[in-house]
Amino acid sequence: MLPDTFPDPLPPALRDLLQRDDPAPHAAMSRRSFLKLTGLGGLALGAFPLIAAAQGTAAKTESLKPTQQPSAFLHIDADGVVTVAINRLEFGQGVQTALPMILAEELDADWSKVRTRFGDSSPAYADPAYGMHITGGSNSVKNSFVQYRELGARARAMLLSAAAARWNVDVAALRTESGKVLGPGGRSLGYGELAEAAMAQPVPARVALKDPKNFRLIGRATPRLDGGAKSSGRQDFGIDVHLPGQLTAVIAHPPVFGARLRTVDDKAARRVKGVKAVLRVPLERGGEGVAVLADGYWPAKQGREALALEWDTAGVERVDSARQLAQYRELAAQPGPRHFDADMTPLDNAPHRIEAEFVFPYLAHAPMEPLNCTVRIGADGAELWVGTQFPGIDGQAAARVFGLKPEQVKVHVQMAGGGFGRRAVGSSDYVVEACEIAKAARAAGFDAPVRMVWSREDDIRGGYYRPMHLHRARIGFDGRGRVLAWDHVLVGQSIAAGTPFEGGMIKNGVDRSAVEGMREPYPLPMRLTVHHPKLNVPVLWWRSVGSTHTAFVMETLLDEIARATQQDPVAYRLALFGDQHPRHRAALQLAVDKSGYGKRRLPAGRAWGVAVHESFSSVVAYVVEASLQQGRPVLHRVTAGVHCNLAVNPRGVEAQVQGAAMMALSMCLPGAAITFKDGEVEQRNFDAYTVARITEAPEFDVHIVPSAEPPTGMGEPGLPPLAPAFANAIARLTGQPIRELPFQLA
């Protein structure tokens, strides 16, 4: 989600957006302290510091940015319960546990008293590197590691100062431990007892951080903080938001992206019990939709089914998958922008050659929680409740719909039931849709919050897919497997084109999100030509973005060269790494050692498969065991070697690797494709669009290379190498390489 090559710094278009997202009222934040005033219990953390500042009781530290102010992130109540604000969307990746671990480490908090809450679209919750509230690119822990450590350390320093003043002793005589300040003579005060006094202490701009060897919490396998709620039906998600008087909207989308309505007959829909209104709303790409507003989802859905709609697709491109593939093949034969270049003259006379074509389909993210957004329009602004990776961009988009200033829109980030990139949309598609419906409802006289809920069919057919890609490779190599020339062509829609990210991500006609993972880290003489056709299909980043296809191409082709030259695929890769790329070598070697690869005999009919890939600054290697059962590829066992530098929560890393691998396994299974016929998506629901089930899940072991270096992200890097490792095992059994996802056996 967000390519590995996401621009840093941000492109100008985004910076402009964000500067507008930094309204004047937040200037008061520089004076914030971190504790609530006595007697103000129950206030939202984000609200009280403004009051504190207004009353002149808060300490001043003008030099700190909003993202550095403990006040916006930390609340300690009188009982010592520490509430940490999360500056990200939690959608399964575990940041709601990892980020407070980081803060609590430096705070020396009592972990059993740590709670969390989510931030909103305020500037305090911007990513410190990107300057916007953004969840993607596996960046949450990576970019907020130092930030959350410093927040915890600043708060600890303030608590220490307060205790020193209380006891009239030097701060140097004090220490902290598990939510307490300990002083000379066995004196002890809980953080809760010191909270109010600590608020009056200055916020230190500079703080010393712990030596990592003294970490007690960071690096410890820690259960998720939301595990209890999520194991008892008590966790609320965006779809569970219920505001007084709320109405539910279900919308009829055009069957072809951008189609308009020719006729609307809503008589039957209006007769459905519970239906309040039928509203025509504008959609993106010049399209239109019809929203049915009702007192619950079911009547709204029944109302939608009772609509008789005729659509006008004149002038709208109707994509057809078979035709598209033919067009991509034609395009692949033409010259295009070069991303890498190398001398291709050795190709024609190379002793060995491989010519390969790969096809990857469109993929839907299909998070388990259907997309939804709840909108309340008030007298002087609007509020949104939505599980979004882009609350800032979505808030801006909502403001444009309502004709409001950005600071008049507040986005309440909700716990999300998955997302995988689908909640990070530059056009804010589903958020804008909900806002258009709320606006139309208000114009029709409904002064009520509106919750828009998509059906699963809306989700599968709703666009913003991982783009379809075609790769072509011509490789010449010698008898030792040394690549002499590699001529590669890649065809696929650009994700960034036409979005605010275009300026930063497209260079010399090449969208970096399409080519990330190509060639790296191997020293290969590669020429890479890229084509970005434009089609009437919205596309988007999908967990691990470009590496969803580039890792497959690279890791299966290298395996094929190793097979063709009778080399062990592990030894071949290690030889290519040479004395470079120590993290790749360590991850691969760990997976090899733990799997028993090369040492253990496999049951008859099984074969080993290997792949390794770096994405989002982390390296994952897989050694897998697979077989064919009645001609069907089956994945039996996976051993992972992971290099993510310091693993903040190893248990969370394990979960992300297993989960990403299962999402990758889904890509290999029959039915894991979105296809088009006459402009319409052919799949509707989970019967036709495959998501892996428990019966397909392999046995799974995850091993992490020990490291004390600053952590890199793990939301996505577990995905790319799984499908090629699986394909390499199957190719060993059949002797035929796999060139297509989902797997097509020759």
């Binding site: 399964g92 259960p223 039906g233 008590r234 007192d295 388990m368 929680e369 259907p370 039931g417 998955g418």
Partner: protein
């Protein structure tokens, strides 16, 4: 008007008899622990118990639930049911949830499965997979689901 026995309490609902139980639970009664995933009995997120049997509430009309005992995730895991509590505790212990959206349905399927086993019988891995094959998890928590169910089965033996 239809009267339903939900989690041991009678509720009289003024909704159309063909309304799926899922929406009566979520929108009418505010029991939002039961989740909407596909609306077509393909993903299992909406699983509840009807007289102890796991059913997909998204395609079960409330008329079919009348006269039967409906149990939802909220009651199955509140501690009153020994097996439901064991499953909940195993889910927490094994840190199964990621996004967590499908887990209500997973837990309801697992609980019904364990209740269906003869006293003391430990399920095989194949039996666990077969019982859980109707529940999708896009986060891919299956390895931990298997471990949690096996653990819960040992706990209640």
């Amino acid at each position: 008007m239809i009267t339903l026995d939900i989690n041991g309490h009678e509720h009289t609902l003024d909704v159309a008899p063909d309304t799926p139980l899922l929406w009566a639970l979520r929108d009418t009664l505010g029991l939002t622990g039961t989740k909407f995933g596909c609306g077509a009995a393909l993903c299992g997120a909406c699983t509840v118990h009807l007289d102890g049997q796991a059913v997909r509430s998204c395609i079960t009309p409330i008329s079919a639930a009348a006269g039967k005992k409906v149990t939802t995730i909220e009651a199955a895991t509140d501690g009153g049911d020994r097996i439901g509590a064991a499953v909940r505790d195993a889910w927490v212990k094994h840190d199964v949830a990621q996004c967590g959206y499908c887990q209500s349905g997973q837990i309801m399927s697992a609980t019904a499965f364990l209740k269906s086993l003869p006293q003391g019988k430990q399920p095989t891995p194949e039996e666990i997979d077969a019982a859980m094959a109707g529940n999708l998890c896009r986060c891919g928590t299956y390895a931990r689901i298997r471990a949690a169910i096996a653990d819960a089965a040992r706990t209640i033996a």
